[in-house]
Amino acid sequence: MLDIRNLHVKLEEEDKAILKGVDLSVGAGEVHAIMGPNGSGKSTLSYVLSGREGYEVTDGSATLDGADLLDMEPEERAAAGLFLAFQYPVEIPGVGNMTFLRTALNAQRRARGEDEISAGDFLKLVREKAKALKIDAEMLKRPVNVGFSGGEKKRNEILQMAMLEPKMCILDETDSGLDVDAMKLVADGVNALRDAGRGFLVITHYQRLLDHIRPDVVHIMAAGRIVKTGGPDLALEVEQNGYAAFEGEVA
């Protein structure tokens, strides 16, 4: 589903290479985890895939179901089924969470040539999804992420994911800041979509999340490259020994 080939990325403003040849393929219904030291380029990969400005792709490709992601506007990537749960969700004062969700859902529907959702159906849907994530109605009324706790922001990301039902989800450290119960709720959300044939790229520093979302593949990223790929056991290895063993492989 998601195919990344030899992706090289530098900062637009300066001559600093961040991704130095990333290769990665996530199939339908698969969960891939990416682990790696701080600053190794994990968030950069997620931003480049979702189309954030400030980066320049100098080589390589990224496609979603064969469509060239790098050639699309961020909103087109979203409509094509890509979703990024941000490491740092953005606060938008003055825009209500409900308005935000409805606008996003309808924009994607329109882009796909579907009808907009009715106000009634939307309300029903949002209530149902919010309930599953234990997000209370009061949080839905507030401006997007404004005054949300760290964990609430992460749950709000997953609510958006649940509403938009993307094909391919990238979760950037969604587990950081979540309490144990919230982590389970989020994992349930991911597992539900996974069963429906969606793909996941889960960026995390901790083995804990992977207890709940059992990954098919674990990648280690260091200095802008995938330096090791393996099964779920790789995550345990990292947990015990750190990254020192892998960083040698960069050279």
Binding site: I92, V95, A107
Partner: protein, 433 residues
Amino acid sequence: MALAQAKPAPLAARIEGLSVPAGAGWAAAARADALARLEAMGLPGRRDEYWRFTAPDVLNAPEPARAAVLDTGDEEPIFDAVDRLKVVFVDGVFDAEASDTLEMAGLEIERLGDALARDITWARDLYGVLEARGQDPVKRPHAALNTAFATDGVAIRATGRAEKPVSLIYLHESDSSDAILHHLVRVEEGAELTLLESGPAAARFNKAMEVDVAAGGAFHHVRAQGRDHERRAITHAFARVGRGALYKSFTLTANGALTRNEHVVEIAGDEASAHVAGAALGDGHSGPFHHDDTVFITHDAVACESRQVFKKVLRNGAEGVFQGKILVKPGAQKTDGYQLSQALLLDEDSSFQAKPELEIYADDVQCSHGSTTGAIDETALFYLRSRGVPTAEATDLLVLAFVAEAIDEIADETLREEVMSRLTAWLERRRRG
């Protein structure tokens, strides 16, 4: 220089074609006083402290510049959904046929000319009185001109709780009309009135309004200035707010080649409250847009509150100006003054000039002011786009969020939604191009 004759006196040329309307003796005297004030001041010039950011030329000119009448298609006029008493002016002339009968429980309302023809104490105590007070310390020549020459308007006295809003509708039909309207509003003790204003009014519009809110009274004002691209307007509101009274004014401006809205508020009674707010949207793509809010709030009583909230969204070379002052007089202790003026510039061609001022002569006072000029928050924009919302729609969402604080100053929910829907429609039209 052989032709170095004295420059033609601009004031003489400006008022040459105007005549002082007839009225009772006291009204004639008030108008004569205003004319004397005007002659002493002369017309405003670019060197005047409060005209540095706005060129007064087209307002000073003997004739108005032409302004095409905008075709608004099948769009329903604003406030149409609101149950109200309609008072219609066409190019500045009262239209009895199009208006409702001037009768409503809780208030007295009549044409200005009728009020000025008789001996009505409250009108005599108000006409030109607040305007004259408002000339010090900042000169407002076009307001004096208005008092001297206003040809029409309404005089409203709220004696109880007015059962529905009075809605002044200003239609614009002639592309060379030059209208001068003057309204008087007296809200008696404990009485309550909502005044709506809407429409472009004329090619050139000079409007003054004097509002006296007695103790415990409440005055709500919601205005939507017409969308005709070439219209030009200078408006003044002079208000006096009595003990425990409330004065609340909101203005929506979208389009207009030139708009200068002046607000002069005197908080005269203890524990009174005055809020003045505005949202202005300008797109230079459809012609020049220059919008100027000039506000002067004087605190002259104890434990009063004032709020100024002005938001401007500017694109394609649109220009915004804010000049706002809070003056706290000696003894006006426990004053709570707040002033916010912000511009959102959607491109680098647009501009915003701000002159926020505080002048405080009391020591137990809380006053804050903030003025900012900013662009769209790129991080928020990307966040919205990453959820599938196209750039233009995402920008509009952020624009609405930006102006929300000004709109929230409208107390009545129906009116707030009415204004919001106009704003949304304006943005949508621009999106469709």
